[in-house]
């Protein structure tokens, strides 16, 4: 069965600093991978996805993620965070429906 691990429950970053959120997955075949963001009281919004091809994928809001098969990872990055990036971030792997990690809560310090 597939699974997703997000090792960091909370991350605090200063505004303007770079960001990396970690995601490790377990899946038997070539995975379909996703990052979603959830603002308080809202539904989930897709940031980016990986199906195949180039292992570095670009998403919305200036986010990118890199698929590394050898490390079973799909880490999310942003060069410079903004206060509006404060939210909950979920990594997911696709199979029968998506399997989600437990999320990383991002806090932005002024």
């Amino acid at each position: 069965a597939q699974s997703v691990t997000q090792p960091d429950i909370h991350i605090t970053v200063s505004e303007g600093a770079s960001l990396e959120l970690r995601c490790n997955y377990s899946y038997g075949a070539t995975p379909y991978l996703f990052w979603y963001v959830q603002s308080p009281g809202q539904g989930l919004q897709l940031l980016l996805k990986y199906f195949s091809g180039d292992t570095l994928v670009q998403g919305i809001k200036g986010f990118e993620a890199e698929f590394k098969r050898s490390q079973s990872s799909f880490n999310l990055r942003k060069p410079s965070v903004h206060w509006s990036d404060a939210a909950e971030y979920f990594c997911a792997v696709g199979d029968r429906g998506l399997t989600f990690g437990k999320g990383t809560h991002l806090i932005i310090q002024p």
């Binding site: 989930l44 996805k49 979920f90 029968r96 989600f100 437990k102």
Partner: protein, 115 residues
């Protein structure tokens, strides 16, 4: 935004009562899903549907049933609600035709409180 409407958006009920949550989509997508979201657990799949009258269980299906009599509607029923089913419930639809593994678009959620 994907045309997904969940109703009711908020509901408070008592233990032992039946509850039905409705998900309505205007995108004509084949695949629909119900998830629950709880602190410390992320989102967990309850049930999913791959067509009219075609449904299957997800990770946390005990205590829940679903029905899909029309492409646009996917109903989640708690036959006898328990306090452990207090949660936020999200409906989702698949955005691309990659079967079950495609990207999902989510509704705004239904917050259920069971007293």
């Amino acid at each position: 935004d994907a045309g997904i409407t969940q109703s009711p958006r908020h509901k408070v009920t008592e233990t032992g009562t039946p509850v039905t949550l409705r998900c309505h989509q205007t995108e004509n997508h084949r695949y629909m899903y119900w998830y629950r979201q709880d602190p410390g657990h992320g989102l967990r799949l309850i049930h999913y549907s791959y067509g009219v009258k075609d449904t299957d269980k997800g990770e946390v299906s005990d205590g829940y049933s679903v029905s899909r009599s029309k492409t646009e509607d996917f109903l989640l029923t708690l036959e006898s609600a328990t306090s452990s089913q207090t949660s936020v419930y999200f409906c989702a639809i698949s955005g691309v035709d990659r079967g079950f593994a495609g990207e999902l678009f989510f509704g705004e959620g239904s917050r259920l409180t069971v007293l």
